[in-house]
């Protein structure tokens, strides 16, 4: 891109190629993410004994998992160069409808969960169609849909907040297989599926191509519109799944339970080294970001900070990560 790189001191003898350097840079940010988790966790143990006790680690992994799950959708969307602002209300709607429709009857979950996931996929499809076919900017489309989902939820429930989650949801969300929480297994499965989809399938390659350059991707035979609709559908389904699991884990649903997850999902993606411009990054990084945020959230009360501090931290983390990656990519470009 740049015309002429500034004069540099003699290059180190066997300079790695551009591609190798980029791979290194990408892994560096993922490594950085996990390093951050480690440092924060150790800091927590130093400040308060038992922070790294097995029970508390469980809790951190599970709350990090919720961020990672919404971060999954956000990662897919951001990789294509978009963003999904409708996540909080899709999550909230899934949680509230689950508890209201089930009304304590666990058997009803057999049809409620598929219906909710299909509904979320539909919301995502509307987002994707507006963006891919009608050329509405992603931020506007998802902001508008966020209002539509919120309004539809409030209207259909008459503004009522949710109620207690059905026992089956609570059981699944809090059950353990031996020492391992069921949710942790679910998170691991999600992590593996997402990593395989992004790294080793044609869909994954098309997704990256779309994010790098839509026009070039189109010329290369990628159905950019299909990819765009698909990622917003994935994001909707991930948010709904998170809402269902969260309702079970917390034991109830209430208005506003999705609110923290917009900032958290974007922050997790940003810490994980995924480029906000699209085209580079992966879900392994986002998982690191989600864990780091969960550990941070656990650390703040120990340090005597109010929950309000969390929002400030989210904002600073997003800014810091984006600035860092902008500086880094600038350096990569002038070096390559």
């Amino acid at each position: 891109m740049t015309t002429s790189p500034p004069a540099r001191p003699a290059l180190p003898a066997p300079a790695p190629t551009g591609a190798a350097r980029r791979t290194l840079a990408r892994n560096r940010s993922v490594l950085f993410g996990y390093l951050l988790v480690l440092v924060l966790a150790v800091a927590g143990e130093v400040v308060s004994r038992g922070f790294l006790g097995i029970n508390h680690i469980d809790e951190l992994v599970i709350s990090g998992g919720f961020i990672a799950l919404v971060g999954l959708g956000q990662t897919f969307v951001i990789l294509t160069g978009g963003v999904d602002l409708s996540i909080p209300w899709v999550l909230n709607a899934a949680a509230i409808y689950l508890t209201l429709w089930a009304n304590g009857d666990s058997a009803k979950m057999a049809w409620i969960v598929p219906v909710l996931l299909a509904g979320a996929a539909l919301v995502g499809a509307v987002n994707g169609i507006g963006i891919a076919f009608l050329r509405v900017p992603p931020i506007i489309m998802t902001l508008g849909m966020s209002g539509v989902v919120e309004g539809a939820l409030l209207l259909s429930t008459n503004g009522g907040s949710g109620q207690n989650a059905p026992n089956a949801a609570v059981y699944l969300a809090t059950h353990r297989w031996g020492p391992v929480p069921v949710l942790a297994v679910l998170w691991l499965a999600v992590l593996m599926i997402a990593t395989v989809v992004l790294g080793a399938t044609p869909f994954g390659r098309r997704l990256y191509a779309t994010g790098l350059n839509q026009r070039v991707a189109t010329f290369a035979g990628v159905n950019v519109r299909f990819v765009t609709v698909a990622v917003y559908m994935i994001s909707g389904v991930a948010a709904a799944l998170a809402g269902i699991a969260l309702a079970g884990y917390v034991g109830q649903s209430y208005l506003g339970m999705g609110d923290p997850y917009l900032f958290a999902s974007v922050a997790a993606v940003a810490i994980g080294g995924t480029s906000i411009l699209g085209g580079s990054g992966n879900f392994v990084g986002t998982t690191a970001g989600a864990l780091a945020l969960a550990v941070l959230a656990g650390l703040l009360p120990i340090l005597g900070l109010q929950p309000a501090a969390l929002e400030i931290v989210y904002g600073c983390v997003i800014l810091g990560a984006v600035m860092l990656s902008s500086v880094r990519s600038g350096r990569d470009r002038s070096a390559g």
Binding site: V83, L143, S146, A308
Partner: protein
């Protein structure tokens, strides 16, 4: 410096008004002239979108008036204006940022912070004056931070302002953890008062329009339009991009802070979550008002109509005994529909120009 073409208000939109060649040293004459010609071509045709927005406003107004007789009296219109002020002020700033082809989500955070400070610190005339200055200064500072990150570092506007929205929301929660606080009654009552027989709120709304019409003719505004129309051409024509973007975001921060004062007058209290629900309407007001999300086209005259429309929508929903939850759903739908209508109109105009 450079020849200045027509500077008509955007609602009239009759003449070409894109002009960016101010400040800095223009590049080579040839490239500069070409860039200027390119910039002018962007606003060469009449834009009917603001007029459409005003038509929509009137439709809503008359619908409401039929259902609710007495709407078209001075005091009722005053209440309408009072209800619109917060959104109009937010839209004024949001519109300036959208003119640069950016977006400012942090207006929600600045507004929330402003209301919490006002509700906890306004006690008498002196503290009101003092803390109003502080709130406005915070708004400008917030905008400068956004503008610095967007303009100097070239970061994406939505991610920067998403982050600062979160930060200012967090600070607001520190100032006032739950909705509440209070302000002196006399201060809150100003918004319902009247001067020279005309409600204060209408004066305030008119003042904003007048300030906009003045601002529209300043060099800063022309640079903002130029940068939004075609950043590259504006740069070649000698517009310094980063300071221009910083001024746009600073204006937005200032307006959001001003909006928080109106909000506090209307509700007589503060709310750390007040901003979250106003970001969507602030963008919707701008877009319904006919400002293009691609930047460079539109203005506050349309945005006022957009803000009035959204406020009237709430009134109409109320008048028809519909649940108030329709409001947020309708806001979202209107935002998307307005974007589609806007780009449809643009495509139509482009086709007619070719024909």
């Amino acid at each position: 410096m450079t020849a200045r073409s027509g500077t008509s208000a955007p609602v009239a939109g009759s003449g070409g008004s894109g002009n960016g060649g101010n400040g800095g040293s223009s590049g080579s004459g040839q490239a500069g002239r070409q860039a200027l010609a390119r910039l002018r071509s962007y606003s060469a045709t009449a834009d009917i979108r603001p007029a459409a927005a005003w038509a929509l406003t009137l439709i809503f107004l008359f619908t409401y008036a039929i259902k609710q007789p007495g709407t078209l009296t001075g005091s009722s219109l005053g209440i309408l204006a009072a209800d619109t002020l917060t959104l109009a002020a937010l839209g004024l700033g949001q519109g300036v940022v959208i003119l640069t082809a950016g977006i400012d989500l942090s207006v929600g955070g600045v507004l929330a912070l402003g209301t919490t400070i006002a509700a906890t610190h306004f006690t008498n005339g002196l503290t009101i004056a003092l803390w109003t200055v502080v709130i406005l200064a915070i708004g400008v500072a917030a905008g400068l931070i956004n503008g610095l990150l967007v303009g100097r570092l070239g970061l994406q506007p939505f991610i920067v302002t998403l982050a600062t929205w979160s930060i200012f929301d967090g600070i607001a929660l520190y100032v006032l953890p739950v909705a509440g606080g209070q302000v002196p009654t006399g201060f809150a009552n100003w918004i319902n008062g009247a001067a020279a027989g005309i409600p204060n709120a209408i004066w305030a709304l008119a003042a904003m329009v007048v300030v906009w019409l003045w601002f529209r003719r300043t060099r800063t505004a022309k640079r903002i339009y130029a940068v939004g129309s075609d950043r590259e051409a504006a740069g070649i024509a000698g517009v310094r991009i980063a300071p221009t973007l910083m001024s746009a975001y600073a204006i937005s921060g200032f307006c959001a802070a001003g909006a928080s004062i109106f909000y506090v007058m209307l509700t007589a209290s503060g709310d750390p979550t007040s901003g979250d629900g106003l970001i969507l309407p602030s963008v919707a007001a701008v877009v319904i008002g006919g400002t293009s999300l691609r930047g460079g086209q539109g203005g506050f005259v349309g945005t006022v109509a957009g803000a009035l429309t959204l406020t009237l929508l709430t009134d109409v929903i109320f008048a028809f005994n519909l649940p108030s939850y329709w409001t947020v759903l309708a806001d979202g739908l209107l935002l998307v529909l307005a974007v589609l209508a806007g780009s449809g109109l643009q495509a139509l105009q482009a086709r007619r120009r070719q024909a």
